[in-house]
């Protein structure tokens, strides 16, 4: 009988070079804290929205700092933190070729369906 094990990966298991992050930081890593992006979910059922960024030494500290800085006034019930270097963003100069072709293809736009009232806030 064979067993299938799910291996849980923890932060740091995947070595930096294979992690997919960029290497924008040029200062010595031992003395500077990395930058983290913070996403907060304000209510059960909604998505995590980007709330800002902060510096922290590790993931645990980043969550606590995010809790202290971004949930002071009841802004949320759940926090995600990601190191900024792992966020890959599209290049603004390529905005033309990425986004403009979709504009005049109205047969793709989801605007003709009438949402029922119960889900109208989507």
């Amino acid at each position: 009988m064979t067993y299938t094990f799910i291996k849980k990966l923890y932060y740091g298991d995947i070595p930096e070079e294979k992690g997919g992050g960029s290497n924008y930081q040029t200062k010595d890593d031992a003395t500077t804290w990395p930058l983290w992006e913070v996403f907060i979910r304000s209510k059960q059922g909604l998505d995590h929205k980007h709330a800002g960024s902060l510096h922290a030494a590790d993931a645990q500290m980043a969550i606590e700092n995010a809790r202290d800085v971004y949930t002071r006034r009841m802004e949320g019930i759940s926090i995600w933190v990601v190191e900024s270097k792992y966020i890959n963003a599209s290049n603004p100069e390529e905005a033309g070729e990425l986004y403009e072709p979709a504009i005049d293809k109205i047969y793709r736009h989801p605007t003709f369906y009438q949402l029922p009232d119960e889900v109208n806030h989507m």
């Binding site: 804290w33 902060l54 510096h55 500290m61 700092n65 202290d68 800085v69």
Partner: protein, 242 residues
């Protein structure tokens, strides 16, 4: 019986007020932005707890209010622990003071929320969540600094030397402390502190003489300066309001 309850409530209120005032001295001076916000958040949490206690005490005493109790009493009338009036020192000393106190406060609130006094039980039940976060935050900093580099470790060792003599007072019951027997909390507290100190590669001091007197109004020279700043506005412009 009632005067005991009043004294005890004032002791709880004064302790949290003075610690809140001490932590607030970091506002704008924190080592890092996020930690500046963290320590001032803790200060506000403690202020909230202190207000709850003062309001209850004012109700018990009658014909007074939380403001008079906080702003118009003198040093010898304050019953806070000696530990919380000690100077902030460096960041290590501040977080160590927070940890040693909050761990005790957590154990105290655990007992208080099942105690005989309804109002104190309610305040404890509400505040224990805040205290749980204070314990978590400060214990991690103790580990981070203790198990950090040479400088952070030596600063933590100095901080322990400075503060340990004030920890005994937390477990020596005053005459009015009849609701919860704090001497029973000491073993649990010491075990947890040893656990954290082990991880932080720090040592718990042995056979230290313990200072006392705060609960009876006999304070160190620090309290006078704290109250001067805290009470200046109310004493100079009586009944002034925002």
């Amino acid at each position: 019986m009632n005067s005991q309850l009043i004294d005890y409530t004032l002791h709880l209120a004064d302790t949290t007020l003075i610690l809140s005032q001490r932590n607030s001295e970091w506002c704008g001076h924190g080592p890092v932005l996020e930690q500046d916000i963290a320590i001032t958040n803790i200060s506000l949490d403690l202020l909230g707890q202190s207000r709850n206690f003062y309001q209850y005490a004012a109700q018990l005493i009658g014909d007074t209010d939380e403001n008079k109790l906080a702003y118009l009493r003198k040093e010898r009338e304050f019953k806070n622990l000696l530990l919380v009036e000690q100077a902030n020192g460096d960041w290590g000393q501040t977080i160590l003071r927070q940890y040693l106190f909050s761990k005790f406060q957590y154990l105290l609130f655990e007992q208080l929320q099942n105690g005989n006094d309804e109002q104190l039980a309610a305040i404890a039940a509400k505040s224990i969540k805040e205290t749980a976060y204070h314990v978590r935050w400060s214990s991690e900093w103790v580990i981070r600094l203790g198990d950090g580099n040479e400088e952070s470790r030596s600063r933590m060792i100095n901080a322990i030397d400075e503060l340990w003599r004030y920890t005994g007072e937390m477990f020596a019951p005053a005459a009015y402390e009849t609701l919860v027997d704090v001497s029973l909390l000491e073993k649990n507290w010491l075990d947890k502190v040893k656990e954290i100190f082990n991880e932080a590669t720090l040592n718990v001091p042995e056979n230290t003489f313990m200072q006392s007197g705060g609960k009876e109004g006999k304070h160190t020279e620090q309290l006078g300066f704290i109250l001067t700043e805290l009470q200046y506005m109310q004493r100079t412009y009586p009944d002034a309001e925002w």
